[in-house]
């Protein structure tokens, strides 16, 4: 018989249900005794034409009842009362995989509560050092573990503590104790499964969250790269390209004039030189902005000093590194520090910015500190913070931004 499907008094709990079961049995037994008496005494009397029914018939009826009562009662109990062991057997089947893991705790609690007439049973799951309530039955006040009627059982699997079963319900009869011990014997594997399922679910959720972060980060990186391309195209178009157009126009001009008046053509040459120099300068500035030569030649500190030489806020670069790092590491550190410095200049109203560089084993560590007004809370988007995080993430490093009213500190570590 399926568990818990036959009683309408589901919510009233184990005690009430047992009362109903036992009442049914008592009524059945009473009915049986009455039927025997009616049949033997009245039926027998009528048959023997003895009125009133005689004493011997009553003795016979009592004898029949005495001999058959126990088997009848047992049969009735089999019909009306689902034994605790039936439920345990069903629980075992359920644990074998037929039941979703979220049903394991509630079924355990309910089985033990119903089978042992407990006030309440709680099943606790141990996960990552913490205990969490997996299920309680019936719905009642939480069990106070220090109460004298409460027993707490550790549930172990392969020697490892996987949970606890707490029962509030006083002393157990032998058959109930047997049920409890059998259940606890199965509980280890069952709770272990629950714990594994929960850990798996958490792992999946964590992976999904990470995947989402990664996707967003990639989108930002692509968007940043696209924006950089647009800027670059515009810089080239408006700068060097126009200068080269001007150069071509001037050359044509000189050619035209030279055909008529060589001396006048010569006077045009300084203007030509000027335009060529302008083209060279804009190209130089452009390429330096793309990737500073100094970073390749002299390292992060030198490149940061050069980039901040004209900064409106004084920038001090303190370099404690003993050696150069891989170019990808240096580039990540340089552009992140530069972004932090530019943020401090633009948004922090700082008076002084200090950049510190240090070796951390194979890694390159940096901090950028300013004495400005600190980050607003929550930090604004679009101040390059996410760009910094993306860059450091992409390099496999870590970045922390902390701050208060006395300034902001950006701390990062880029591994080799």
């Amino acid at each position: 018989m399926p568990l818990g499907s036959r009683t309408p008094a589901r919510k009233t709990g184990a005690v009430a249900r047992n009362v109903v079961d036992r009442t049914l049995v008592a009524v059945g037994v009473g009915g049986y005794v009455a039927a025997v008496y009616v049949l033997v005494v009245l039926g027998g009397g009528a048959l023997l034409r003895a009125t009133p029914p005689g004493l011997p018939l009553a003795v016979v009826a009592t004898g029949v009842v005495a001999v058959t009562l126990e088997p009848v009662r047992r049969a009735l109990r089999r019909v009306f009362v689902v034994s605790a062991f039936d439920r345990l057997a069903a629980f075992g089947a359920a644990m074998a995989g037929a039941v979703a893991t979220e049903q394991v705790g509630p079924r355990m609690a309910r089985l033990l509560a119903d089978g042992t007439e407990a006030r309440r049973v709680e099943v606790w799951l141990r996960a990552d050092g913490d205990e969490e309530l997996l299920a309680g039955w019936p719905d009642a006040d939480p069990v106070d573990r220090s109460a004298p009627t409460v027993e707490v059982h550790d549930v172990r699997h392969a020697g490892e503590l996987v949970g606890r079963v707490v029962r509030d319900g006083g002393p157990l009869r032998p058959v109930e104790r047997e049920l409890r011990d059998d259940l606890l014997g199965q509980a280890g594997l069952a709770l272990r499964q629950v714990a594994l399922a929960a850990r798996l679910r958490r792992g999946i959720e964590l992976s999904a969250a990470r995947a989402e972060q990664l996707r967003e980060s990639r989108q930002r990186i692509v968007a940043t790269a696209d924006a950089a391309r647009v800027r670059l195209e515009r810089d080239i178009h408006d700068g060097a390209q126009q200068h080269l157009v001007a150069l071509a126009v001037r050359l044509r001009l000189v050619r035209t004039i030279a055909g008529r008046d060589p001396h006048r053509a010569a006077t045009q040459l300084p203007a030509l030189q000027e335009v060529a120099a302008a083209a060279a300068t804009t190209l130089d500035e452009l390429s330096r902005g793309l990737y500073p030569r100094t970073l390749t030649d002299a390292g992060v500190a030198a490149a940061l000093r050069e980039a901040s030489a004209t900064s409106p806020v004084p920038v001090e670069v303190l370099d404690a590194t003993a050696h150069r790092h891989a170019s990808a590491v240096e580039a990540a550190a340089y552009f992140t520090c530069l972004e932090a410095v530019q943020n401090a200049v633009k948004h922090a109203a700082a008076h002084r910015i200090v950049v510190r560089l240090a070796d951390g084993g194979d890694a390159l560590q940096f901090t950028v500190h300013d004495d400005g007004r600190g980050l607003p809370s929550p930090p604004p988007t679009g101040t390059g913070l996410s760009g910094m995080h993306d860059r450091v993430d992409a390099a496999g490093g870590t970045l922390a931004v902390s701050g208060g009213p006395t300034g902001t500190t950006v701390t990062g570590r880029i591994p080799a």
């Binding site: 408006d238 126009q242 157009v245 001007a246 126009v249 001037r250 050359l251 044509r252 335009v275």
Partner: protein, 220 residues
């Protein structure tokens, strides 16, 4: 009489160089220069030039200021031809420029400025109410032609004639360029007008509409 020209470019060196070069051309007189669209419109209003030479990308957004200015000038001063200079061929920009009519408008790559004869020819073309498209623009537009375009039914020869027509040439000039007889060019133009369903239009409109169909032959 010399063509009176106003030129606009936001880059000082280009503006200065172009003005100096055009000043050396006998048939051109530079009567005004501007560095952005508002100044350009003011200079055109002040000088009523025969032609305007303007950069496509100018302040404030460096996107299509030159095209907007060109269309505005054509609206306000129908007698003034406009040649737009662009660094690259952008077919969408060309279609946009010519969407209200091709007469008196030109689109050249900036590199043509140094080949001053081509620039001067284009200026003459737009002043005469014709259109002047850079050969590279024609090439780019042809490359975009797909089977679903109204030009799909045209023969290679008819397309070549149409491409020349788009540069503002008349039949005599087209015949010279393609080494054809004038009669042959006429035959091709009539055939392509028929294929583009333009036989009912007046001749000048037909040419404009054919060129527009040509320019609008974008992939769908």
């Amino acid at each position: 009489m010399a063509l009176r020209v106003v030129l606009a470019d936001d880059n000082f060196l280009v503006r200065q160089g172009t003005a100096a070069l055009l000043d050396e051309v006998d048939e051109i007189e530079v009567v005004g220069v501007a560095e952005e669209p508002t100044g350009l419109l003011a200079a055109v209003a002040a000088h009523s030039p025969d032609a305007v030479l303007t950069d496509l990308r100018m302040p404030p957004t460096f996107r299509q200021e030159g095209i907007e200015a060109a269309k505005e000038i054509r609206r306000r001063h129908p007698g003034t031809g406009v040649v737009v200079l662009s660094q690259y061929v952008e077919p969408d920009d060309v279609v946009d420029l010519l969407s209200d009519g091709v007469a008196g408008l030109g689109y050249l790559l900036k590199e043509r400025v140094a080949r001053v004869e081509e620039l001067v020819a284009a200026l003459h073309q737009v002043v005469g109410g014709g259109s002047a498209l850079d050969p590279q623009v024609i090439e780019a537009l042809l490359a975009r032609r797909t089977d679903s375009s109204p030009l799909a039914g045209l023969t290679e020869r008819e397309l070549a004639v149409l491409a020349e027509m788009a540069t503002g040439k008349n039949n005599i000039a087209i015949a010279r360029t393609l080494y054809l007889s004038e009669r042959a060019v006429e035959k091709h133009t009539n055939a392509l007008f028929a294929k583009l369903a333009l036989t009912e239009e007046r001749d000048v409109n037909r040419r404009v509409l054919a060129v527009l169909a040509f320019l609008d032959a974008r992939p769908r």
